[in-house]
């Protein structure tokens, strides 16, 4: 039987309450959102916080809405909410594609976008989505709010830009009219973590790629992306050859590690093949040729 080490528990009533509690116990207190990454780690004693601050009552952080020229997503938005959101479905199919293959429906009822990004697992799918879309992350502390690019948010495995007395409150995605986007994952069995995943968005100007974003997870891609491939595509024709060449750059730039999910060369192969597929689908969706 897996039992976490003892800890104190507080139910937060507001963001300010969370920040006060964090400040009172610097380094000892941890936020718990869905708990679907933290509790398994505590059960294995890989994490032993002395205090848990439960933020599940902060339902005002559960939203997906248009805010100016961006989509704002509250930290407590569950995977299930991201999957069913009509607004996200309209602007960014990448969320729906990704959420269908993140964990399983029951886990998706609990896990949150804030917890996913803050967990910073090197195989986290939403980290690749946020990186592909060049999202920004809003972090709140006692002194105010600051905004960090998703690509600077992750500072290494299980390490983020969120400080001891701070909390992630929102994720913001720029709205890109006409953009097509997609996500694909290879997993060993339904509900498992990725062997490799890729996500993309493409914005077209006629037949030219006006803007493009790429996200990669589980393959050791720096900042969950491949800027070389993005730069190679921007301003170029949206052709199969150019996409294939960019996908090759993803293959070359990633640094996967062999583990129980597969050897290095297989993961590199997947980085190339999945990038090729998501770019191709994104282009087709931007052209309105594919739903």
């Amino acid at each position: 039987m897996q039992v976490p080490a003892p800890f104190d528990y507080e139910r937060a009533t507001s963001v300010d309450h969370v920040l006060t509690l964090l400040a009172e116990r610097p380094g000892d207190a941890r936020i718990v959102a869905g708990g679907h990454s933290l509790l398994p780690m505590m059960k294995l004693r890989l994490a032993q916080p002395e205090m848990l601050i439960d933020i599940n009552d902060l339902t005002d952080l559960d939203y997906i809405r248009v805010d100016g020229d961006e989509i704002a997503i509250g930290a407590m938005t569950r995977h299930a909410g991201l999957l069913s959101s009509a607004l996200l479905g309209e602007h960014y199919r990448i969320f729906r594609d990704a959420e269908r293959v993140i964990a399983d429906p029951i886990v998706r009822n609990r896990g949150t976008i804030g917890g996913s990004l803050c967990q910073a697992d090197p195989s986290e799918d939403l980290s690749a989505v946020a990186s592909a879309l060049r999202a920004t992350v809003v972090i709140q502390s006692a002194t105010g709010r600051r905004t960090v690019d998703a690509r600077d948010f992750h500072q290494g495995p299980y390490e983020t830009a969120v400080g001891d007395a701070e909390m992630l409150v929102e994720v913001r995605v720029p709205i890109r009219p006409g953009a097509g986007s997609a996500y694909e994952k290879v997993e060993r069995r339904a509900g498992d973590w990725a062997v490799a995943s890729a996500g993309a968005f493409v914005q077209l100007d006629g037949d030219t790629i006006k803007d493009v974003g790429l996200g990669l997870t589980a393959v050791g891609a720096p900042h969950f992306t491949c800027v070389e491939a993005e730069e190679a595509l921007r301003g170029q024709a949206a052709s199969a050859e150019n996409v294939a060449a960019a996908a090759q750059l993803c293959h070359d730039a990633c640094q996967p590690q062999a583990d129980q999910r597969g050897p290095e060369d297989y993961k590199r192969h997947l980085a190339r093949e999945l990038s090729r597929r998501v770019l191709t689908t994104s282009i087709a969706r931007a052209r309105g040729e594919q739903s």
Binding site: M1, Q2, V3, P4, A5, P6, F7, D8, Y9, R11, V32, G35, H36, L39, P40, M42, K43, L52, D54, N56, R100, A103, D104, P105, I106, V107, N109, R110, A190, G191
Partner: protein, 168 residues
């Protein structure tokens, strides 16, 4: 610390350690052993119950997180001695063999049918993707849930067996 929650419609108050998992709370503190405890790693779904009307894995939820909320377990499905259509469906279509996965399957299936009265096979298979069954090969589970969808009004129901037969 003291927790108060509604479990299957009844208010319960208990003094527990914050580290107690919800699955052990319902099974060991409340004696509701219908909820099963399987993998302990949020993978198998045997421990699925409803927290505020949403299916969750209770091996990955703290009991204190359920304080002030409502919990519904498999014991609440049969009402007034009459099986819920999903229970009846699993009986009619041979939806279980060893029965270990069944409580979680039933709670996931009930929730699905409450939100989609007529799910097709693919929808059902996706909905139960977080519930692992080692025995049936899933075919009969899909049929059982289809049966429940087709008999939503509880027609052709048999009376539930007496409680002592169930626990024997």
């Amino acid at each position: 610390m003291q927790v108060t929650m509604t479990v299957n419609g009844n208010e319960v108050t208990e003094d527990i350690e914050p580290r107690l998992l919800l699955v052990h709370f319902v099974r060991d503190v409340l004696g509701l052993t219908g909820t099963h405890w399987g993998c302990d790693t949020s993978n198998c779904g045997a421990c699925v119950l409803w927290l505020d009307d949403v299916p969750v894995k209770s091996c990955t939820t703290l009991a204190v997180m359920a304080s002030g909320r409502s919990v519904r377990t498999v014991e609440d499905l049969a009402q007034g001695g009459v099986l819920d259509p999903v229970q009846e469906g699993f009986m009619q279509e041979h939806g279980l063999q060893c029965g270990f996965c069944t409580p979680g399957m039933l709670m996931t299936a009930r929730w699905l049918l409450d939100h989609d009265a007529d799910p097709d096979e693919n929808t059902i298979r996706e909905a139960i993707a977080g519930n692992v069954c080692r025995c049936t090969g899933y075919e009969n589970i899909v049929r059982s849930i289809r049966w429940a969808a087709a008999h939503a009004d509880g027609a052709e129901q048999q009376a539930a067996p007496a409680t002592d037969e169930v626990t024997a």
